[in-house]
């Protein structure tokens, strides 16, 4: 059964100003400024909200409009490049009251998105609109101190949004876990919150990826997040690869990932099936991964690392280009690679297997690696079923008590074997 999920960032989007995490002072100044329009047009006819991504700038404006019952008009970066759009919006900005008697607030989001020479005209046009605005205009960007905004800045009230403290984010995460019926360790939530570096949106995304559909969330479930960096989350990298439109963009995603190629391969390998569901697309994508993997084998064999470029081609562009029929709908969470989870769990296991392999090798003219794969399973059977044969072999291979215990898998069997071994010594 396929479940379509909605993103928790949407589901738990604040509806009112008091639900927003952190930035109480900044929000208060914003409210004060908007309310000052009631008396007369203030000196600064626009506010410029700035601060790092994911901390609630946009949602503050949205909920403010909602709380104060204002008509909310939003424009984002792609809209106001054309002169037409700016004129239309200039018209809107020229009156405070809307057609239906309500009050209006205008938001120009993602100002950082204005780039290039054509947009320089855009910033100038916006500045003109702000100068003569008859209703509150809110501008949002990550940084207000970009030289492009130097002139515009003069006409705006600057309000800085700061990263909310991790404790408050953790509280929000707790609240959501309660609503989703997930029993979460406080430690786990604090870890997610801290890792997000104040980015509430990414903390929510992480939480959903880790906790959705589960009944509990423990510290072990989240500790692997330490593998990745905040700068460009692995999820964004995966999105660029699994939903890449061009070969170049899919390939470039590799540079953004801060995990090594093998780890990235595991992420892609784990997530391809859920994101490329059409059978033909899936087969093509898996074949691309298979070929990438063949190149990895060749690198190992000839130690020629320049072949790595073909591994990257196939695991990124090869997978991206496989998308022919799969429709994109709904939000599908990314999963942590299952094989890595199994591996880290069985790290001690593998060390033990190799140690036993070394013992077998001394006697059996076979490599320790191969012995641990080919012969060890047989030993397990013998050690579980036949204590006297096991004791004989343990002695012959010179296995220590821990190894015997590992092979016997149960206390009862290993005790029986140990008993026989000690009798033998007497």
């Amino acid at each position: 059964m396929r479940v379509l999920y909605t993103a928790w960032t949407v589901k738990y989007k604040p509806k009112s100003l008091n639900e927003i995490v952190g930035n109480k002072e900044a929000i208060q100044s914003l409210v004060d400024w908007v309310e000052s329009w009631e008396n007369n047009v203030p000196k600064k006819r626009a506010v410029f909200l700035y601060g790092p991504p994911g901390i609630g700038k946009t949602v503050s404006v949205e909920t403010l409009a909602n709380d104060l019952g204002m008509e909310f008009v939003e424009k984002n970066a792609s809209d106001y490049r054309t002169e037409d759009a700016i004129n239309r919006f200039a018209g809107l900005a020229s009156q405070y009251g809307s057609l239906f008697g309500g009050k209006r607030i205008i938001l120009l989001d993602e100002l950082d998105g204005l780039t290039g020479s054509s947009d320089r005209g855009g910033v100038r046009a916006i500045t003109e609109v702000v100068k003569s605005a008859q209703c509150p205009i809110v501008l949002i960007a990550n940084s207000a101190y970009d030289p492009r905004f130097s002139n515009l800045r003069v006409y705006c009230l600057l309000i800085e949004f700061k990263k909310p403290p991790a404790g408050e984010i953790a509280k929000l995460l707790k609240h959501i876990c309660d609503r989703e019926d997930v029993k979460a360790d406080e430690e786990a939530l604090r870890f997610i919150a801290q890792r997000s570096g104040g980015d509430v949106r990414s903390a929510l995304n992480d939480l959903q990826t880790l906790a959705q559909g589960k009944s509990s969330l423990k510290y072990e479930d989240v500790s692997w997040l330490g593998y990745r960096d905040r700068q460009e989350t692995i999820f964004n990298v995966l999105r660029l690869i699994l939903y890449g439109k061009t070969c170049i963009s899919a390939k470039q995603a590799v540079d953004m990932a801060d995990v090594d190629i093998d780890m990235l391969f595991e992420w892609i390998y784990e997530n391809v099936p859920a994101h490329l569901t059409d059978p033909h697309d899936l087969a093509t994508a898996m074949d691309a991964l298979s070929i990438a993997d063949v190149y990895r084998g060749r690198i190992r064999a000839v130690q020629d690392w320049s072949l790595m470029r073909y591994v990257i081609d196939y695991m990124t562009a090869g997978v991206a280009m496989a998308r022919q029929n799969t429709k994109v709908h709904g939000w599908i969470p990314f999963k942590f690679p299952g094989r890595i989870q199994m591996l880290s769990r069985s790290k001690a296991d593998r060390a033990m297997q190799l140690n036993i392999g070394q013992k077998i090798r001394r006697r059996n003219h076979i490599s320790a690696v191969r012995a641990s794969k080919e012969i060890l399973p047989y030993l397990k059977i013998i050690f579980k079923n036949n204590a006297s044969m096991a004791a004989g072999i343990a002695k012959w291979l010179d296995l220590d008590a821990e190894m015997v215990e590992y092979l016997a898998e149960s206390e009862k069997c290993s005790a029986e074997i140990a008993e026989l071994l000690s009798q033998d010594e007497k």
Binding site: A301, G338, M342, N364, S367, E374, I381, W396
Partner: protein
């Protein structure tokens, strides 16, 4: 019953004890007789007697004190160039004391050596031919670089024929007082397909249950790549559930330690028994063969096999479509 591993206990000690690979053994015997051995490559599938033949040859050459003149290195454990530069070279250049002027270096699983290490080995082989002869054992001689191949006498080991496989196992069973039922023997051959080391290990593990060794016991202990499990995985894939099929595959490989080559062999068998249109069988045989070849090239088992599963999901979907 004895308490060591039977695969070692019943490993032949002299060339004359080896019952199969007759032509090869005759040539090796002549080497021993003339007390001269060239560099050799023993190539062939696992469990066909490569290492045994090498060890027997050295025993026949040097007698009981053979250990002083022979070094056995396993390239899977020590595959890097440093080993060739240090261990191998040190051994190779020191002259042997005794009637025979050279020592023997057995390099097991030599196809797992990096090509750098192989390049280094080539020089060593050339320089110290007087004092040391090399026997390289490998599953695939194609993975040994050409210059080394051209310096070696090639020997191709083949899987044991069924009769000899059976004779061998029956002898061991008799000596160990194990009751080996006919269908048990069939099952061992089915699972190990002539790999004698595996066959003997399988026999011993089955015997450890202290019951007559029959097919049921053999299948129950040899990993879980039982035909039934593979069949279930195939059906799951053909019915379109890739994630579940991959989960089953992962369990087979990681939990039960089944080799990818076994699984693909079983898939190949099941394919022709499957209830699908005949044209599709041959189409899919090609897909299976391609993946099998990639596995041989040293790729990751699970990745390769799940690529095959995805192909089966696609095929299952197309077969189901009304034409």
């Amino acid at each position: 019953m004895s308490f060591e591993m039977w695969a070692e206990k019943y490993r032949p000690k002299a060339l004359s004890d080896i019952i199969d690979q007759k032509e090869i053994i005759e040539r090796l015997k002549s080497f021993a007789k003339s007390r001269n051995v060239p560099h050799c490559i023993f190539a062939g599938p696992p469990g066909t007697g490569k290492t045994t033949a090498a060890l027997c040859l050295t025993r026949d050459l040097y007698g009981d004190a053979y250990r002083e003149h022979v070094m056995e290195l396993n390239a899977s454990d020590e595959r890097g160039i440093d080993v060739v530069r240090e261990t191998v070279k040190t051994f190779a250049r020191i002259k042997s004391i005794g009637d025979i002027p050279f020592k023997i270096m057995i390099l097991d699983e030599a196809d797992n050596m990096t090509s750098d290490a192989q390049q280094a080995l080539r020089r060593t082989m050339e320089r110290y031919t007087e004092t040391c002869r090399f026997i390289l054992c490998a599953n695939y001689s194609g993975k040994i670089i050409e210059p080394i191949q051209s310096r070696c006498a090639p020997f191709r080991f083949a899987y044991l024929p069924r009769e000899e496989h059976d004779r061998y196992l029956r002898t061991i069973a008799e000596k160990e007082k194990v009751k080996l039922v006919d269908d048990g023997l069939d099952a061992v051959f089915d699972v190990c397909s002539g790999d004698l080391r595996r066959a003997i290990n399988t026999l011993q593990a089955a015997a450890s249950l202290n019951k007559p060794v029959d097919a049921k016991i053999v299948y129950s202990i040899t990993g879980r790549a039982s035909p039934a499990d593979v069949q279930k995985m195939l059906t799951t894939a053909m019915e379109g559930d890739f994630s579940d099929a991959r989960k089953q595959l992962r369990a087979m490989i990681q939990k039960y330690g089944v080799a990818g080559s076994d699984i693909i062999r079983q898939i190949h068998i099941e394919l022709f028994k499957a209830n699908i249109p005949e044209q599709w069988k041959i189409k899919l045989a090609d897909a299976i063969g391609e993946i099998d070849f990639r596995l041989v090239e040293g790729a990751d088992q699970e990745v390769q096999l799940s690529a095959l599963l995805a192909r089966l999901v696609e095929a299952g979907c197309e077969i189901a479509k009304p034409s």
